[in-house]
Amino acid sequence: MKTLLYFAFRNLARQKRRAVLLGSAMALGTCFLVMASSFVAGITQTLFDRVMVYVAGHTSVLVGDRGYLYRTALRGQAGMKERIAKLPHVRKVEETIGIMCRIVGPAKGDNGVLIGIDMDVDISPEEQRELEENFPMAAGEFLDMNRTDVINPAVLSKTKAKYLGLELGGEFSARYQDSRGRMQVTKFTLVGIFQPSNAFMEAPFFVSMRNAKILLDLDSTDLPYLYLTLDNPTVNAKSVADTIHRMFEPDLAALPVTIRGKTASFGTVAAGVKTDSAARKRMEGIVGSAIVWKDDVVALPTSLASRLSVSVGDTVGVVSGVARTGDTIVDRAVVAGLWTPPDGAGDLVLWQEDAFQASRSFRRPSADDSGLVQVRAASSVLDTLLSPTWVRLPRALTTEDVANQMRQIGARSWKAPVVAVRTMYETGEQIIKLADALNMITLVAVLILFLVVLTGVVNALRMTVRERTREIGTLRSLGMQAWQVRRLFLMEAALLSLFSAIAGTILALVSMKGLSLLSFPIEDNPLSMLLVRGHLVFVPRPGVTVVHILLVMGMALLAAWNPASQAAKLSPANALRHHE
């Protein structure tokens, strides 16, 4: 083996010019393959680590309310955050708020996104470095969002600040909708200006999470969006998401209410009842309703209706608690029918789901809240008609699934709050597909390139065999076996391709380093999203590079097989007689 290796080396050295030319072609091919693959990996990493992670976290818990996109809080479920933080592989759980808004500066107005940043969480040096990389400050400090000597300190991108005509210390207004759906306008002070790392980062403006919660009217019991940072997200994101999904098992919803009739008021419990066409048909059977079971209607227990002196068609007041504003929440509802609750359900009032869930959403939760026992007792009769605490959406495994869920939320398919658990790989599944497609295109292009190069290898080896026929005869005469001759030529091809691929890889690394130093001033172009602060990003992956080198060597061996076999088939006598 050693001898063969020595011969192979010596033969390559003997034919320097040919080896260098062939090797250069292979090295260039390898260089292109490594660079293209690293570029695609760089784009993917940029989109995931600098865009998707801010849009979706490694894993995220998203909440919505009855067809509203921006009412992003699950009332009374703040405790879930602590439970999620204790799960394995969860490094950090951050509350996230992102609200579309209209920013009005001294010069102009523009659309933007108000984002709350949790300034109280400890961040690792690595995260600090990432933060500084993503938000290099052009003026002021990111931590100035904690300042208390100015009104609502905020940080804007340089592009946005310039467009709005703002300078550090300047004031601007933003019009937005709070988590209860009310239009608000608030003044902010610009305390920091950052250089956006890509076009995607130009739109948001940041305020501290503490301020954002106040502005959006979220209280300490509300659970907003949660973005999770995980250890090794590519491996753990899906399993963590599945676990959290299981944790959000919904229960039946109950609401303590007081029903105001004509002559009296009585405290009882209400359950929400669905109003789709199938539910309506069933409800008409249960309450014998002459009034269509939709809009703001209730069905009262017969005994309660009697005590309230109301009958079908009358209007009652439904008092469902106190809003955060301090106002008593009173809805008016038409009595659509009377019903007889089963044992244990007490005087359970059945309330049309949309109004029922609206009241749950607006009322201030109370420690005395009860009624679940009565609602559960009623489930023996009403089962799937009853409204849940929230709807847990199925895990969306693709971007298309995610889009479908968003469409269904818009279509008000669910009248209860909704909870969805996703990973950024599902939300950004199209990015992975795009990266796979780019990798495949690159590979095919490089394979075609190598076919051309290896045609040269075949020809070169054929010429070599012809030139060295007498030498082969001598070696065979000295006892070298046919398989050893074949192996010798294959070894030459392998060594040539190995050195070429290594040289190509080194060339690729040097070229990538050089290209990543170049700056592309295309801030206004959407393609800048693929750059980091105007620089190309290459992410060479050692494993993939080794596979590429092995691929090049494999193709070279395949190309060399036929000429090597022909050399092996030569009889020693004929070979020795060979003359050019």
Binding site: G181, Q184, R324
Partner: protein, 257 residues
Amino acid sequence: MRTHPHRIHTLAILALCTAAWSADPDGAKILKALEANDLLSADIHSQVAITENRVGQGAKAMKCEYFRRDADKSFVIAITAPESDRGNGYLRQGDHFWMYRRNTRTFQHVNRDESIGGSDAKGQDFESRPLTQMYAPTKDAQGRELVRADTVGGVPCWRLEVRAIVSDVDYPKKTMWVRQSDLLLAKDQSYSSQGTLMRTGYYTKYQKVAQRQVPMRQVHVDEVEKGNRTLVDLSDIKVGKLDPAIFTKAWLESRSK
């Protein structure tokens, strides 16, 4: 596209107040009167022209046809101009609210809090709710309603301050100027919960249509982004039963061809 369907909708919502009313100012009664006229008993069809003036962007004009049937909370907005938006439209059927795009020939659900065509209007704005279920007159420390005489453009009005009694309304506070002579809305101002003035609306040129007074012109002034204003002009109002086929996706789609 920058439309203001909300403004269009409010035309119908606020097309009311016919009987003269000479009693003492009573905020609750004024609101009740507005609410009593809230629902139109008949279907309505009109032409609407909307002109938006935005700072730095000049004026943008849009025309559309508006069909409304309150019996089942349905309406259709079919955009007829400008050419770039012609054929686009909106359809509301009960809980469902779709946006139709001619270019893609698709209907897309509009979220309740989603902006309509980049305007201030949201899907939720089209959900009719009785006025007195949303607002009540604001009272002072002595429990008196904040109603007093005032004028708008020289016209004697009742100036009425109202506050939201439920949480899910756009504006927690409003001030309304209602004409004393016929109790038609002349002007309103909408405030955020912190008390910042956000929007002012002027309602002029009322016309009697099927026993109702309809504001033929509305001007909405954006008080946050100074200089932005929207003008809504109504014309060719017809009242009477509309073909049920109008309130369907197929009809709206056929208008784009």
